[in-house]
């Protein structure tokens, strides 16, 4: 209808625009501050260097995999296979390393290559066979999980001592893993904002049709996104090996849902095209903080799940996504 368009620009006020754009960030970081303040008052052990950096270090695992998931969700897809990739990665690297320092390089490279291969399979299933991302990655999730439990159902393999030490290394008071996550985030944000690949991800998530009509090689970008996500999941598996020192097949159980939760909590639209990594970091921190607080306050595991669920639904309800 020709006349449906307004001739006048509807310029929303600056404040309103700021609020609308950043509603999710305000909610997530606001909640983090509120929870932090409350816990600081009720527990003396909460606000200590040791505890804070501990929370951050724990956040590295979820953070790494959630960065990959953010890329996928921004492009309008979803990746359910990351939990199984973590599982296979920790097993594979532990077994290949077998406690020998000389095997570190081989184990790391082979594990990352596995991630790359899985991402490629996901990407090809989605772009070439036109299988919906949910279904395609649910398939690889199941297959990889099956492979992992075929290899072993009990912990197996062994990290080399030097590799195991990585978890405890600190630079000043800051754990190496935390610095690592910070670097990953910076690179990720840079890719999303300042590279063609990043812009194309937002474009495809915003509207695949417009992206295609704008001459973007949609399939190629999508494959790239799934490869990146799977490799970050494989990397997360390696990080778990630095902590546990052994390949435990229960590692990564439910990681895909946690990662998706963090991304959504951070305000990235499940439909794609809107959001980013600063939000995801908020989501990761909020989840980590909630868990930590419940531990500090001595709440049992079952209540933890329940409260985490309420926080998620509550936070998202506060900035419910509007979409035509």
């Amino acid at each position: 209808m020709t006349s449906a368009a307004s001739p006048v620009d509807r310029k929303p006020s600056r404040t309103r625009l700021f609020l609308r754009r950043n509603a999710s960030l305000l909610v997530v970081y606001g909640l983090i501050i509120l929870l932090g303040a409350y816990t600081t008052l009720s527990s003396p052990t909460f606000l200590t260097d040791r505890n804070i950096f501990n929370i951050l270090r724990q956040g590295t695992f979820l953070g790494t995999v959630a960065i990959g998931e953010t890329f996928v969700i921004l492009s309008g897809g979803i990746d359910l296979s990351v939990g199984s990739i973590i599982k296979l990665s920790v097993l594979m690297s532990g077994i290949l390393m077998d406690g020998k320092p000389g095997n570190i390089a081989l184990a790391v490279i082979a594990t990352l290559a596995m991630g790359l291969a899985v991402g490629l399979v996901n990407g090809l299933l989605i772009t070439r066979l036109r299988i919906a991302p949910f279904i395609a990655t649910l398939g690889t999730y199941s297959v990889l999980r099956g492979i992992a439990y075929t290899i072993t159902t009990t912990p197996k393999g062994k990290a080399a001592p030097a590799f195991l030490r990585l978890y405890d290394i600190k630079i000043g008071p800051v754990p190496l893993l935390v610095i690592f996550l910070a670097l990953l985030l910076i690179v990720g944000i840079f890719i999303l904002r300042r590279t063609t690949f990043g812009r194309h991800i937002y474009a495809i998530g915003g509207s695949e049709q417009v992206a295609r009509l704008s001459g973007i090689r949609v399939d190629r970008v999508k494959i790239g996104v799934y490869v990146l996500c799977s490799m970050l999941a494989a990397l997360t598996g390696l990080l778990y090996l630095t902590r546990a020192g052994i390949g435990d097949p229960v590692t990564g159980e439910g990681a895909e849902l946690q990662a998706i939760t963090a991304v959504i909590l951070g305000g990235t639209s499940l439909f794609g095209g809107v959001g980013g990594l600063i939000g995801t970091l908020g989501g990761v921190l909020l989840i980590g903080l909630t868990n930590n607080i419940l531990v500090v306050l001595n709440v049992t595991q079952y209540y933890q799940d329940l409260i985490e669920g309420l926080v998620i639904v509550g936070a998202v309800a506060l900035y419910k996504q509007k979409r035509k």
Partner: protein
């Protein structure tokens, strides 16, 4: 005005505006009982808005509806159905994987006290309606197994099953082949005999003259005339539909056309079954006219690689290409400003910056990194050249007016320095001021040697801007006119019937 009992429907003094723009202005529309009333007008004349008000999809700003003697100021969609108004839209409202009977009773399934659906009664009533329409359908047939014509019949049956006394058919013939149309007309006639009133919306004047008793012409949201069809000649009707002075100023073409820059020979795609050929010369605007659905957009999509070519070849600047994707067409020097900027041209939730530079990122990138400075320069140049008014390039495109949004789409494509720009409805949903600016921009481009293929439903625009005009009818290019040969009447004649009384060019 008093209501007359021989009229089933009187819509009186209906006005409706969207965001300050009048879509309908004091429209009165009256239908006699058990007659076919045609509603005609150019695209954007307000037909759909009027029908949507009748359907309860929109609420009128002012005015009343008198239906079967009952006065209403507004309808809800449910009410409209309940009082006996059935609307058959161009896009059917059918659930493909349900049966005919399930579709007909969707939302009002007969059921017993515990809520179990009475399938037998559903089938029986469906069969009764089908029989009444004289159709060879089974109530058990799954809808997606039917032809489009069959699905249309299901829509009609659905309207009848809700005891509709007035059925609106929006462009029912657009999707039908010749013999199917005959069938539709037969059914319309039998419905009229049974006392049902039909509002028939169509672009095709042949059909209007064949089936209608009365006709109302809408233009720019106002009623031009309501008359019995018998009092009208075809020429008079066309004149009423067009009847507007060339109010916009079209900048003249000052440049002689250059050599051929794009040649398409016998191109066809799945949605463009008849092979089409055309040549586009440097520095000219080639207009494509025709009714909606005549295949204009399909030609554009075929050229741009958006639909897969089934046959033919395309030569751009001497190089033959078979664009398999828009990306290849873009590389060859083509740009497409699409028909619907909201769904095909823009990322509404993203910034003006991201929208404009998306197609030219490669040029702005060094070592994989987008150079902010170059990007800002690009945007400032576009803003200056096209006169885009914006608070900041970081603003999301959704907050811009239609005119500014269209300029953003243009800017995005001009960044690629195309040799050929295909513009599908370049000024749709754009205010008059911006319209004029867009015409100026188009002329500036052709002066630099760019070739423009302009698809438009607005005849003044086609006549005012094009150096040559192709007219399409039912998926085929039926005529090529040079500017001085073309008149509005001639184009409408060609676009509605596919033929011209005095054949000059093939």
């Amino acid at each position: 005005m008093s209501s007359d009992s021989s009229n089933i429907l009187e819509m009186q003094h209906i006005s409706k505006s969207f965001a300050g723009v009048h879509a309908l202005r004091d429209v009165s529309f009256t239908c006699r009982r058990a007659k076919v009333h045609a509603l005609v007008g150019e695209n954007g004349a307000g037909k759909s808005t009027l029908i949507k008000i009748l359907a309860g999809a929109y609420q009128a700003d002012s005015g009343e509806i008198i239906f079967k003697g009952q006065r209403y100021t507004s309808f809800s969609a449910r009410q409209a159905i309940a009082v006996g108004i059935g609307i058959i839209y161009q896009e059917f409202n059918l659930v493909p994987y349900m049966t005919v009977a399930e579709n007909i009773f969707l939302g009002r399934e007969p059921h017993n006290r515990v809520g179990i659906v009475d399938t037998r009664r559903m089938i029986e009533e469906t069969d009764a309606v089908i029989k009444r329409l004289g159709l060879s359908l089974s109530g058990n047939e799954q809808v997606n197994n039917l032809t489009v014509a069959g699905q249309q019949m299901v829509e009609i049956a659905k309207a009848l099953a809700t005891r509709a006394d007035l059925i609106v058919m929006d462009e029912p013939s657009a999707i039908l082949a010749g013999h199917e149309l005959e069938n539709l007309f037969a059914i319309i006639r039998s419905l009229i005999e049974a006392g049902v009133t039909i509002v028939y919306i169509s672009h095709r004047l042949n059909e209007v003259f064949e089936i209608a008793d009365d006709v109302t012409v809408l233009k720019d949201g106002q009623v031009v005339s309501t008359q019995a069809i018998a009092e009208l000649s075809r020429a008079r009707l066309i004149q009423m539909m067009v009847g507007r002075p060339l109010s916009e100023v079209f900048p003249p073409n000052t440049r002689a056309r250059g050599s051929a820059v794009l040649t398409a020979e016998g191109i066809s795609t799945e949605s463009l079954p008849h092979p089409a050929s055309l040549t586009l010369y440097e520095g000219e605007i080639l207009g494509i006219s025709g009714m909606v659905g005549a295949g204009r957009t399909e030609v554009a999509r075929a050229l741009f690689g958006a639909d897969r070519l089934r046959s033919g070849r395309i030569t751009i600047k001497g190089a033959t290409i078979m664009p398999r994707s828009p990306q290849q067409a873009m590389k060859a020097g083509l740009a497409l400003v699409p028909e619907d900027r909201k769904s095909q041209g823009l990322f509404l939730e993203q910034s003006i910056r991201n929208n404009i530079t998306l197609t030219s990122l490669q040029r702005l990138t060094r070592l994989f990194v987008i150079q902010r400075k170059r990007e800002t320069e690009s945007i400032e140049r576009a803003q200056h050249d096209l006169g885009i008014s914006m608070a900041s390039p970081a603003l999301e495109v959704q907050y811009l007016s239609g005119g500014n949004q269209q300029k953003v789409v243009l800017a995005k494509w001009l960044e690629t320095s195309p040799a050929v720009i295909i513009m599908d409805e370049p000024t749709r949903g754009v205010d008059v001021g911006t319209k004029f600016e867009i015409y100026q921009i188009m002329r500036r481009l052709t002066e630099r040697g760019v070739a423009i293929l302009m698809i438009s439903s607005e005849l003044p625009e086609i006549l005012g801007m094009s150096d040559r005009i192709l007219v399409m009818h039912s998926g085929q290019i039926v005529a090529e006119l040079v500017r001085h040969q073309a008149t509005e009447e001639r184009i409408i004649e060609l676009a509605t019937t596919g033929e011209s009384p005095e054949q000059t060019t093939a």
